[in-house]
Symmetry: C2
Subunit: 197 residues, 2 copies
């Protein structure tokens, strides 16, 4: 698997990406056929098989609109060079797609949490930011984690030293909290998202 895509296959893949962005659902086999003026659904099957072999797509069998994109493509295009002039099709300078579906595999173990307070400002996590958290009960030294302290969820950096664990803020005006047995680790912060109104 993971072979090169042919031109046609790339076109089909692009259309699937486009359809997903536009309609929130992948196209049916016949909708793809319609787009490319294929007279037979079989033709689409062939191309899909190619995409599957290349490892960029999965198809849930016997399920309507069962095409799933594996490599991403649902999101915001990441441009390499910023085109100065016309805001035309960015379709070509695109380096990839920024998305967080791969951050959230279909296991329900990823969630978002709104940050309260400024204890992590020096790590670039501000009040009101969203942190993306993957649920797990252990973490490495220096990981940024979410822990339950006195029933409240806090975001801190985990520092393991001499057999003890501490929740260390990234703000000189806050103190560290030693991770006691009653403080429970909820998960690891795998991303930060901030939105300007």
């Amino acid at each position: 698997m993971d072979r090169e895509l042919t031109d046609r296959q790339r076109q089909v893949l692009r259309f699937i990406q486009y359809h997903l962005q536009r309609h929130q659902v992948p196209p049916t086999v016949r909708e793809i056929a319609g787009q490319f003026h294929f007279a037979s659904p079989r033709t689409v099957q062939d191309h899909l098989r190619g995409l599957i072999r290349a490892g960029v797509v999965r198809v849930r069998p016997h399920i309507a609109r069962g095409i799933e994109l594996l490599g991403g493509g649902v999101g915001i295009p990441i441009v390499g060079r910023v085109p100065a002039g016309t805001p035309s099709q960015p379709f070509d300078e695109v380096e990839g797609y920024l998305e967080w579906r791969p951050l959230s595999p279909p296991d329900g173990q990823t969630f978002a949490l709104r940050v309260k307070g400024d204890s992590m400002v020096n790590a670039g996590i501000l009040d009101g930011d969203y942190v993306l958290v993957r649920r797990q009960e252990t973490a490495e030294d220096k990981d940024i984690v979410v822990a339950l302290v006195d029933g409240e969820a806090t975001v801190k950096r985990l520092v393991k030293q001499d057999g003890t664990s501490q929740l260390v803020p990234e703000n000189p005006s806050h103190g560290a909290i030693s991770l006691r047995h009653d403080s429970q680790l909820v998960g690891k912060v795998i991303g930060v998202f901030r939105r300007y109104v």
Copy 2:
């Protein structure tokens, strides 16, 4: 339209959101019925009609999996209280869904850019972060913007004062750049995304 949702309707909506996150596609009418142990697809139709009247959902007629969420819901669930115990069904404590589809309407005016340098650290934008940019040629005072300076894209805060415009970094060790006519404003930063490996 835009009336209150009933409890049942809210549950159905939650399930649609959950299904979208999990499978990249909305559920079929019968998949919803299965989830709630409805014996008849008609029951789902009733609830869908309610959701349509409430304005939170659109249904593309006669199209498989034609349910479209209007208010968002494709993304990572934002939890209110962090459940300490079992990572069970997430779809009840969910406050909303973190997503950036609303940031990127299908007009191709939004793109992402990888930040180089630390000139905006004090605004919580670090080296390697992605900024989400909406293309526009003007911006307000205090907006964080992307501008082309000497052919390079930079992220700075725009400060308008006494009829002049300046690109001001959020880092004391960097200097401001006056926005000359040959420096071109590319767009406004509407979001920041950072991913921890």
